[in-house]
């Protein structure tokens, strides 16, 4: 894809204008506009980052820094499903690496790689704020799969292969379970 071919449509540009209006500076709109770009292209490879920088009239280096900071922005083309496996502290302690390595073995790829059929990408990511339900993973910047076990992971893969995404789970911390029960009674 050459840079010339990349452009936002008028609709997208209008949306970007609306986003810009919400912030005191263009710089502050970087995250949201990168998001617009990722929704459009499915990734924010360097040329897409440049498009964002040029649209917002920001240094290209700045947008590159922001895009590379967040694992949620895909700097390469990814598979249909991106499995972001958390290996940060809480998940690590609860077996996050076991989950990651199990996934790697199952799919025959390493973290950072995509399966040949273009179905799955595995990423190793830092804390996603779900420490209470560790270990966990996130599917393509969407739903979380919590309290993972190897079996739960196998099931998840099987379902995703069939195009079935996991449902949103409302989670309660163990120490709150009792209270929840009491409340519901």
């Amino acid at each position: 894809m050459t840079e010339q071919e990349l452009a936002f449509t008028q609709d997208e540009l209008d949306e970007i204008e609306r986003i810009k209006a919400k912030f005191p500076t263009n710089k502050a709109a970087t995250l949201r506009v990168l998001w617009v770009a990722q929704e459009k292209y499915g990734h924010v490879k360097p040329e897409v980052q440049n498009l964002v920088a040029d649209t917002l009239d920001l240094p290209r280096s700045h947008v590159h820094g922001v895009a590379s900071f967040y694992t949620q922005y895909y700097k390469e083309e990814t598979g249909t499903y991106v499995l972001d496996v958390c290996t940060c502290l809480s998940c690590q302690v609860c077996g996050g690496y076991d989950i990651l390595h199990h996934l790697e073995d199952e799919l025959g790829i390493k973290a950072g790689e995509t399966t040949e059929d273009g179905m799955f990408t595995i990423q190793e990511v830092e804390c996603l704020g779900a420490c209470g339900y560790a270990p966990m993973l996130q599917v393509t910047n969407g739903v979380y799969a919590n309290n993972l076990t190897k079996e739960k992971v196998d099931k998840l893969i099987e379902n995703l292969r069939k195009g079935k995404k996991p449902e949103f789970e409302s989670m309660v911390m163990r120490q709150n379970e009792k209270r929840k029960k009491e409340l519901s009674q």
Partner: protein
């Protein structure tokens, strides 16, 4: 006046101060990395921690509250404070590592963190010896590390741009380089990529760090992460001499240091002067180190037949020069001074020919319109245009030079590549006897019949008047065949100079150029033709100038040294093409 108490001493202060800068100004120390006095304060390295609090004042009486022992009560801030970002306020109490074990511990622990993934490759690192991380670790760091796991690896030998090489593993992410590109050079070419223990500075993938000021990031990088591609692995800093000097590649006259080893200039770094260049200099000025070592004119040379130049003795050079002068009337000479040489050289040179009866030397400024920026790069390509004006050389444009050549039999050029910069062509000089007094080989020396090698800014003490009318001076940094740093007290002596001998394999006689200061050569020439002309040192020339030239009254080398150059009371002439 508001007061602060630092390490149990009372100090008064006025105005806005950050604790760290205040402490440094007192001549005391708190270790730091990310802070830089000329840039914004992100407080991200966390090294400068101190314990801080406030004496409690009774709101009503305005009196300090006392405890049972009669001591003032202190309300300590709940956490350690980064002193770089801690604004002094009245009644503030600060304890640095000198008096607070907690502060000492905090600094030590921060260093342990910073070093977790640092490769500790000081033995092969260019920064060793002048590395804040190395120094602070010795002074304040832990003796060992408790982290025994594998270090995180990051890219090494990354060519960030044409002049800067990055070793990302050494980076402590202080963001000084990023802030420099944002706030000082304003090219915005750098950013920090990735995060956590994986981050390091980078350009956008489609860009390269070709900032015309890029090498300043190498100076301010507090570790060996950013290195100068030119200087990488060339020398250990403790083996070099550091000599103050002036950038001669443009009209700004940035204050610099010349770093030499065995009489070769190996690198050039900026020297702080708030009036001229602050802490910075353009990359171009640093590349000049090569012209001090390479392509020099060493030993006089003379044209035998058409195009053949051959080295000759100094005696023969003086004799030939003298014979030419004796064979011609003063009005058959075209004498050219130059904005590329110092005031002293131009003055002595001009005076010599005045004494012979010639009128004032001509010079033409060396300007490339549009070349400069609003910062430290100027249109003026020469360091001393205003100096030539100061001593009343005759300023002329290129045509003035050409017509002077046309009506002359003998052309004498002081250190100016008039052919190379397109003022004259080699053909213009072909039918005239041309004498060049020059530092470097050039198209002009090639077209000359007699070439006299003279000292360059790295070899003599001399002054230059910059574009804003500030006079500043150089020191000899590099020995010539005829100088000796052990005898010349103006020269600095490094470890190798002091302990080396001529028989050591790192000593190379070739690094000493066979040249003389122009005034010394003219002494010999004057003696031969019976002219009363004698200057033993550039200082003698300067003293004479300061007696005779109004704007230089009361100015001396000492004043220039103490005041980092002196602003002359001359009209600030725009340096433009005449």
């Amino acid at each position: 006046m508001p007061e602060v108490f630092i390490d149990n001493e009372r100090y008064e202060f006025e105005g806005d101060y950050m604790a760290l800068q205040f402490i440094l100004d007192l001549g005391k120390e708190v270790p730091f990395f990310c802070y830089h006095p000329s840039m914004s304060i992100p407080a991200n390295c966390r090294q400068c921690m101190v314990k801080a609090g406030q004496y409690i004042k009774d709101e009503e009486t305005g009196e300090y509250e006392l405890d049972e022992n009669g001591e003032r009560k202190i309300r300590w801030f709940p956490k350690m404070q980064t002193s770089c970002a801690l604004k002094l306020s009245d009644g503030m109490v600060i304890q640095t590592q000198e008096t607070s074990e907690e502060a000492e511990r905090a600094q030590k622990d921060t260093l342990e963190f910073l070093l977790i993934n640092h490769p500790l490759d000081c033995p092969i690192c260019d920064q060793a010896g002048e590395c804040p991380l190395q120094i602070q670790t010795y002074k304040y760091g832990p003796e060992g590390s408790r982290f025994e796991v594998k270090k995180v690896h990051k890219p090494k030998r990354v060519q960030l741009g044409p002049r800067v090489t990055l070793d990302a593993e050494r980076c402590i992410n202080c963001t000084r380089c990023v802030r420099f590109a944002e706030e000082i050079s304003e090219t915005n070419q750098l950013t920090i990529v990735s995060r956590g223990d994986k981050n390091y500075p980078m350009t956008a993938p489609s860009e390269t760090f070709d900032d015309p000021y890029s090498l300043n990031t190498v100076d301010i990088c507090p570790v060996g992460a950013l290195t100068s591609t030119d200087f990488r692995f060339k020398a250990r800093v403790w083996e070099m001499n550091q000599t103050p000097s002036i950038d001669i590649t443009n009209g700004k006259g940035c204050n610099i240091d010349l770093w030499t080893r065995d009489n070769e200039v190996l690198r050039i770094t900026p020297r702080h002067n708030p009036e001229v260049n602050d802490y910075w200099m353009p990359d171009e000025g640093r590349e000049a180190f090569e012209q001090f070592n390479k392509n020099r004119v060493s030993r006089p040379s003379i044209t035998l037949d058409e195009n053949n130049q051959s080295n000759t003795s100094w005696n023969n050079a003086v004799e030939t020069f003298a014979e030419i002068l004796e064979a011609h009337d003063p009005d058959q000479l075209a004498v050219f001074g130059t904005p590329h040489a110092s005031v002293e050289e131009n003055y002595a040179f001009n005076k010599f020919f005045n004494l012979l009866g010639a009128s004032n030397a001509r010079f033409t400024p060396h300007i490339i319109p549009g070349y400069g920026d609003d910062f430290l790069i100027t249109d003026d390509q020469a360091p001393n245009t205003n100096g030539c004006r100061l001593i009343n050389l005759e300023e002329t444009d290129d045509t003035g030079i050409q017509s002077a050549v046309t009506s002359a039999k003998v052309v004498i050029i002081l250190s100016d590549d008039l052919v190379g910069r397109g003022v004259l062509s080699a053909d213009d000089l072909a039918d005239r006897y041309t004498i060049s007094l020059a530092t470097n080989q050039s198209d002009t020396t090639e077209a000359s019949d007699l070439v006299i090698p003279i000292t360059c800014v790295a070899e003599h003490a001399a002054s230059y008047v910059n574009i804003d009318g500030r006079i500043q001076r150089s020191f000899p940094a590099k020995e010539t065949k005829y100088t000796n740093r052990r005898l010349n007290l103006e020269m600095s002596e490094g470890r190798l100079d002091r302990y080396g001998t001529n028989f050591d394999n790192w000593v190379n006689e070739e690094h000493k150029i066979d040249c003389l200061p122009v005034w010394e050569f003219l002494n010999h020439l004057g003696e031969r033709i019976g002219l009363e002309f004698q200057y033993d040192h550039s200082r003698a020339i300067f003293d004479e100038m300061s007696d005779r030239i109004d704007p230089l009254k009361g100015i001396s080398y000492e004043r220039m040294d103490e005041e980092l150059g002196v602003q002359l009371p001359i009209e600030q002439q725009e340096v433009t093409q005449a």
